[in-house]
């Protein structure tokens, strides 16, 4: 255990935890479904990414780090796929999109 590496890990883990909680708060403060997907994407990228990076620092060059990289890679592939599937399903289902400038670019979409 190295003191400096421990500090790096602690900073990354706490930063990751901060972004996780921010995403959770956003899930409640944003007012409609489409906006909430953005809050969820904060936890999926910044939260998960920083935390796994922090654990990678602890793992060093080993199988553990390789597995952490795999977890991160799977998360980075699956989270946009899920987000896109959800949003497209909601849009196709007719859930209203609230737009600031309706009719400009978003007409006849679906």
């Amino acid at each position: 255990m190295n003191g400096a590496l421990d500090i790096v890990t602690a900073v990354l883990l706490v930063a990751g935890g901060f972004f996780c909680v921010v995403g959770g708060i956003g899930l409640h403060r944003f007012s409609d479904f489409y906006q909430r997907t953005h809050a969820a994407s904060v936890t999926d990228t910044a939260g998960a990414g920083l935390m796994l990076l922090g654990l990678m620092v602890q793992g060093g060059l080993s199988m553990v780090t390789l597995k952490l990289v795999l977890v991160l890679a799977f998360l980075l592939f699956s989270s946009p796929a899920i987000a896109h599937a959800l949003v497209k399903a909601a849009h196709g289902h007719g859930l209203a999109l609230e737009l600031d400038d309706p009719g400009k670019d978003g007409d006849a979409a679906g």
Binding site: V14, G16, G24, L27, F33, G47, V71
Partner: protein
């Protein structure tokens, strides 16, 4: 530091569960449950390091994939009410 990170994850899990309970649409619930699953993966990984057993990362990998497949399956079920139907025609609409 691991305990602090786990506390943050658990708080986020509760926030996601609350959103899953409130709704209001089924898509909100699926989004929240998917987020809950992602946090579970992180919780397993951090707990593995906390207890000095990084082998738990194998569980985290499997949970990532199960979470992905499960969310898609639930979404498909919510949309078509059926997991097995050929929806190629329905998708075109």
């Amino acid at each position: 530091m691991y305990v602090a990170a786990m506390a943050a994850i658990v708080v986020t899990m509760f926030l996601a569960l609350a959103r899953a309970a409130i709704g209001p649409t089924v898509f909100d619930r699926i989004l929240a449950v998917n987020m809950f699953g992602t946090k579970t993966v992180l919780l397993i990984a951090v707990a593995g390091f906390l207890t000095g057993r990084p082998e738990w990362l194998d569980l985290a990998i499997v949970y990532t994939l199960v979470n992905f497949t499960g969310t898609l399956a639930v979404l498909r079920f919510a949309r078509f009410g059926n997991l097995a139907r050929d929806d190629r025609k329905a998708d075109r609409s």
